[in-house]
Symmetry: C2
Subunit: 395 residues, 2 copies
Amino acid sequence: MINENYRQMLQEKSVIRELSEYAAARGKEIGQDNVFDYSLGNPSVPCPQGYTDALTQMLMNKDPMDIHGYSPSLGIESVRRAVADSLNRRFAMDYDSKHIFMACGAAGALAHAFRCVTRPGDEILIFAPYFPEYGPYISHTGAVLKVVPADTENFQINFAALEEMMSQKVMAVLINTPNNPSGIVYNTETIEKLADFLSTKQKEYGHDIFLISDEPYREIVFKGEDSPYVSKFYDNSISCYSFSKSLSLPGERIGYVAVNPRCRDADIIAVMCGQISRGIGHNCPPSSVQLAVAEVLDQTSDLSVYETNRNLLYDALTAMGFHVVKPGGTFYIFPKALEEDAKTFCMKAKQYDLILVPSDNFGVRGYFRMAYCIDMEKVKRSIPVLERFVREQYP
Amino acid sequence: MINENYRQMLQEKSVIRELSEYAAARGKEIGQDNVFDYSLGNPSVPCPQGYTDALTQMLMNKDPMDIHGYSPSLGIESVRRAVADSLNRRFAMDYDSKHIFMACGAAGALAHAFRCVTRPGDEILIFAPYFPEYGPYISHTGAVLKVVPADTENFQINFAALEEMMSQKVMAVLINTPNNPSGIVYNTETIEKLADFLSTKQKEYGHDIFLISDEPYREIVFKGEDSPYVSKFYDNSISCYSFSKSLSLPGERIGYVAVNPRCRDADIIAVMCGQISRGIGHNCPPSSVQLAVAEVLDQTSDLSVYETNRNLLYDALTAMGFHVVKPGGTFYIFPKALEEDAKTFCMKAKQYDLILVPSDNFGVRGYFRMAYCIDMEKVKRSIPVLERFVREQYP
């Protein structure tokens, strides 16, 4: 008999996915060029040529047994070494290969990190607005997700609300900076304040509180932004990374867990991830992808279009009268809707073939997300449509 | 604080892995040519050139966004379609793409299948001898693994023992044919008898009992063997497949779940797998690997060396007086040890640089496994060493 818990989950539809499917269907009717699909956070620039070259060269010149052979469940040792070296070089850290666990994207990295540092029933705090997939990642571990209300002034951290929700039961705090959906980068002041707060609470409660940092947008930070490397500020921390956005490889499911060498149990957390992987059956990311990524660790796709799009949209939206906190990175912007109910607002926009995602899914009401990982030319063409929508619906 | 359950697991060392590490270290001392490492089931022949060509061509000629873009969590639709078509063509089945879930190897396929059809506390029966990784796959779901003792006469199914262990609590039965570690292929008589037995028990208990079939060795079947396609015989069945052995791609973690179109809930089991994947964070196998595998679905590596090695070893071992059931497939052989304690037997063999795996790990006492996925020349050179070992230790 099939498991009713998993059957129940089939009811949980993704609003983002539904909107994106609507956009595709609508595009077939009126032409894709005429639908302004801001729904999906799917990179719009190709992977760097270096990645394609590295993989092609490998396939042409190397023994297939070396490319496609078993990877240890923690990842290929030379790849873990290369990741540690790259992080140490770029962020002045002191990772060893034993602190790196190669994961199937940030999703796999996060799901493993949650399992390592919580037990069923423990609480994990996250900050609104947040990426809704954290829900299933956490609920499958048996831990309990609690959402700290947003600081809607500037989308940094609402410390008053955090203080109120912190308790003995909290074993981990999850942050995501640069942030999906707000586009905001937590600045040094925010990270320092969070680190101090957690250090104090660790002492008060007499147990560790892990800071888990979800960093798939780490390489998409715009000019002049203060973007600190989280693990420099707090010892009991774990970084979860994905190459999906920086190298435009979302389908290849490749990322890693980097365990802070100064955290408690630093030497065994990666090994625990390996055991968890073994049990859930995913074992390790594909060997060819691990090897190819290791060749381009310090490269990125040409990410400049995202900053250009950010500028275009931020300027246009503010000129139209939207209240919007200027994103410092990612490819998202998160303006306040022009009426209280974001769903109604987005439904109205849909009539203009503007596909916007209401904020309710991200744990905040009254905002909407635009994923501007689309062609710059299309962003430009969308602006007069946005203007007409606002003029006609909110005169 | 780290999760003590997962920390405990760090104690569970793999005997096979330890033996293989010993063999590698010993090889450094005396030369790899002088160590006869029969420990690891790692394919010894390269992937077919067709796979390398398909992937290289794709990298050179296709838009990187199409190769590396997000795959739906159930797998790329065209790939699922191609897998269904291939199975229908080869086994006269009637799979639709909706019955196929692309998984990260057979490991991922099995772990998902267990979650779909059992709840924590339910029992899953397996037959000795068995692949020890089933232990962690099942324990992570909360279900309970129960081992049906072996039919040591011919390593088919011990139906008397099965009858005894069957109960209301059993929601799934797992088989692995061709079998690791025995190398035996379940014949049509065995599969029919099992199907009849399970059908009767379903009626008696008033609930479904799923037959989960682990089939990574399906393509490694030797001349003249009767190797039925399991799902033809029993409606409530799920096939779990990996390309690791047939295409020699163990590191690429690619396989699938094929849900019998005639089973209860046939239309939603693959979708449930997608939700499970989403929750544990592995999401889907890498898109480039899915696309490349779809180009070579009906191909295999040159698997003929395994049959040659089987013949060499079977003939030599029987001539030396070993009791051994002749393998019909895989690259394993599972002879009876020459003394009661297989561990002692294998320790003695180690002194001759013969690396054999004692059967205790596979749920049977007094046997040993040889993984003959090694060069034929090395198999030949190992025979006089085996003879000397037997002559000197068991005169």
